[in-house]
Assembly symmetry: C2
Homo-oligomer: 524 residues x 2
């Protein structure tokens, strides 16, 4: 429940929480601020379409044109888990493949499979430079299957048909997606006569969750998984609900106590604009919004989104993952906020700060805070069905307005939006999570959970070793799946070390696999 009564009126938005692991934009309820509903930034070059991230048209998000691949399609079964007859029982799943460095089927060359997440697969492929970097030394085949209902991998023949309603969306689940990967890779191996090639899974964010879960459920298909920034514990009450926003807040506080304070103080001022005559017009003008906002929550969401996304991509060098940004972007945001006289207007300072995020190139003249009036996309559906990841904002520690996750209003809103009732206990029923240390101590093997503690999603991650082969590689300073990115000359030493450890562990998995297959000559 919202602890500040006045906010209850100020932000009368949808109540359910749809928190794409890669994109965040806040919404709020009739009672409380809420974590993001919408998943995408609302302005400028980094375009989005169809509620997905990383469209192929957003060319500046493709940092390495040297990544070459073939694009193929695979006829995939719509429903792996029943024998119901459908008019559209199959769909075309897209995947990218690169065999440039593959040592081949005869040599049992390994296959590196990226578990595609909530967006166009090209975007994940080119932002997973680590796989491309290490493919030569492993002689690995690279395969990047797209997640069903994202990119061009649309059941029912088109995006519109796939996203028509709750019924058409009903096969958009993590379990179906994982079997897609399993089915695809088995078929591919058969076609390549590479049945004996070991498969190693990779994934970041939601893709990392899929990689970890796939290794847990399908050990006969993949020998191990690198699950980077995979918050598989962000369900039910496994981790404290405050964690996400506390980490975002600490990321800002670490750079500047003043910056943290300015942001924390800004919400009530923002709110006051919502109550004034002409307030919405004034605040829209102040924040260079192209068209006047319809409610103050639209600005609130826009700011929340910027802060949360900044915490995720607080990389030690300039990058264009979510937005073109400088190195340590939170530091730059806080510099912009701090670089005002003490008596300066707090909202001017906040605007200067978020402009680093939304307009680092300086090319944007005005912002569109609400470019998806339907708010309909794949992750919203997933959040309204199985991906119920509770979050709260603690007034003691968070720089965001206070709110507490409320399942009832979340549920009601999902029923309103999709006619579907979330199953908040399903993920832990299907994949576990509670007492994971005890459960997996003598069970399972070969998973790396990598996390950087600057990443707000690390709060829901596995941060300690579970066994000798289910291990946590944690860096104090890393942001969201930084380790999956391409190596650079200016990588900090701790990142170089983390990747080195990952490579060694993956080598051990493969070496052990070859040993068991009686192929000792392999030398990596």
């Amino acid at each position: 429940m919202c602890s500040v009564a006045s906010r209850q009126k100020a932000f009368p938005m949808k109540t359910y929480v749809a928190f794409s692991l890669l994109f965040i934009l806040s919404s709020c309820t009739a009672e409380a601020w809420r974590p993001p509903r919408f998943l995408r930034p609302r302005s400028h070059n980094f375009s989005f379409s169809n509620g997905q991230i990383g469209t192929p048209s957003s060319k500046h998000s493709v940092p390495n044109s040297e990544y070459e691949y073939e694009t193929k399609n695979f006829t995939q079964r719509l429903d792996h888990f029943s024998f119901k007859k459908h008019a559209n029982s199959t769909f075309q799943q897209r995947y990218l493949i690169n065999d440039k460095h593959w040592s081949g089927a005869q040599a049992k060359g390994p296959i590196f499979l990226y578990c595609g997440n909530e967006g166009y697969i090209e975007w994940f492929a080119v932002n997973s430079g680590f796989m491309w970097d290490i493919a030569p030394q492993f002689g690995a085949l690279l395969v990047f299957p797209e997640h069903r209902y994202y990119g061009t991998s649309m059941p029912y023949g088109s995006h519109d048909a796939a996203y028509k309603d709750g019924d058409s969306l009903s096969y958009l689940t993590a379990e179906q997606a994982i079997v897609d990967f399993a089915t695809l890779i088995l078929d591919l191996k058969k076609n390549l006569s590479a049945e004996a090639s070991p498969v190693v899974l990779f994934g970041g964010s939601y893709g990392g969750m899929l990689a970890a879960w796939m290794r847990l459920k399908y050990p006969h298909i993949a020998i191990g998984a690198l699950a980077s920034s995979a918050p598989i514990l962000q369900f039910e009450d496994i981790v404290p609900w405050d964690t996400f926003y506390d980490i975002v807040s600490n990321d800002f506080r670490r750079e500047s106590e003043n910056c943290f304070r300015v942001i924390k103080d800004s919400w009530s001022l923002l709110e006051s604009y919502g109550k004034k005559d002409e307030g919405l017009h004034e605040i829209s003008k102040k924040f260079h919004i192209c068209r006047d906002v319809n409610g103050i929550e639209e600005i609130g969401n826009w700011l929340d989104s910027a802060y949360s996304n900044l915490a995720m991509v607080d990389y030690p060098y300039d990058a264009s993952f979510l937005m073109p940004l400088p190195a340590y972007p939170i530091r730059e945001v806080c510099k912009a906020i701090d670089n005002f006289p003490n008596d300066a207007d707090i909202l001017d300072r906040v605007f200067a700060g978020v402009s680093i995020y939304y307009n680092y190139t300086g090319e944007t003249k005005c912002f569109d805070v609400n470019d998806d009036p339907h708010g309909e996309n794949g992750w919203n559906w997933q959040a309204c069905t199985e991906m119920v990841m509770p979050m709260s904002s603690n007034p003691e520690s968070s720089m965001f307005p206070s709110f507490t996750f409320d399942l009832e209003s979340y549920t009601n809103d999902c029923i309103k939006s999709f006619g579907v009732e979330p199953r908040p206990y399903w993920i832990t029923t299907e994949f576990g999570g509670h007492s994971i240390g005890t459960v997996l101590k003598n069970y399972g093997s070969n998973i790396i959970f990598s996390n950087g503690l600057w990443d707000p999603w690390s709060g829901g991650g596995v941060l300690t070793n579970i066994s000798s082969s289910i291990v946590a590689l944690v860096t104090e300073k890393g942001a969201h799946h930084l380790d999956l990115r391409q190596a650079r000359e200016d990588d900090p030493a701790w990142l170089v070390e983390q990747r080195k450890a990952e490579i060694q562990i993956i080598k051990d998995w493969i070496y052990e696999y070859y040993q068991e297959k009686g192929l000792y000559s392999f030398n990596i």
Copy 2:
């Protein structure tokens, strides 16, 4: 393909193979003898209804009236793996429960969960005396959930509605059934405040497959599984297709070479009746069939069923599991066959033999070989969808007519019967099976695969230890899940030993679990 051309005409039956793990009756194709299509004996007291085994009305199958339990229902989700809206989205799943010996929630008393298989749950409950025997020493709660689409646990409100067509049957799968068990037990634990109680799975035959798979897929829900006579490798080409019929044949040959030979020679004689004028009438009369058979294959199936079932229940003492039978029933069958002059009619001898199986009580005046003209039941559907377990009969080693599994005709027949195409590679995609020793060597834990080598299903079982905690307990002489039966004074020493080992291993699992939970005082 049928190796004897004349048989091709003689047995023009359905081509697909539906081999209930507990009941077998043969069918044959236009080209070849086939393993059983129908699942149930056709006569006398052991009644079946609705294509299920072990109806509550078959009282003589309930050996121990001292087994007391409460019967309850649980509202179960029809489709765990999608969010499709159904008019009938839930159904009532029945389960039996006994807490007489439970040490309770506070003591974290263990829960023994039997994974119900293809029939009425009471029947499995009372034929799993081992669980009842050991409950007191473990302080265990006993829970026996019924498998969906069997017994009274019918989706869509009734058997007729559930079995209406391929669409209504489409949620009858092993994966859905396993999640039923998971969901039920989580709910039960919550209601009993027994979240911390360890769950141990038990199952025999198909139920044993479910137990093993559930432990593999849901280690967070069950700490271990005793999978008795679970042929999880009887898929694709993991084990030789001849195995099942070879073991049946060897079971007879071991008792008497002459017996084996008489049976082997009987098929061509049987076939000659199919070609004679009045042959069907004559053979029906000879075999005391109540009404003349419509084709010679009906007798063939009836015999095949008797031999295969006898091999499964070749127990060392008298029992009434499938039929009321004496100790070592194959020995008795062969005695009856051998107890003729050398020049006696072979079919008279065969009839005397199978009469031990079908009419040990001597109460049956005539037999009904075909009491299910529709041949429609749950296992047939399962065999036509995911449970594709290839079998052949090798002319060199088998006493059955020669035939080879043929996926194409199998598929065609399933399409004809249910409008559904089998997915022969699905089980290994979902649960694995190939290279199981390598895959599970460093993965998973706490599964006992128990098998008796007299049991024809042992050919598809796990017969060697995979790791220190995934172990095989194999007895040379045991038949189908003999170890799950109630202990008796006259149990052979090897069976006593096998059960003792099982108890010790289960104790170790529970002890380890308590240790990890910091509860050291437990002493079993």
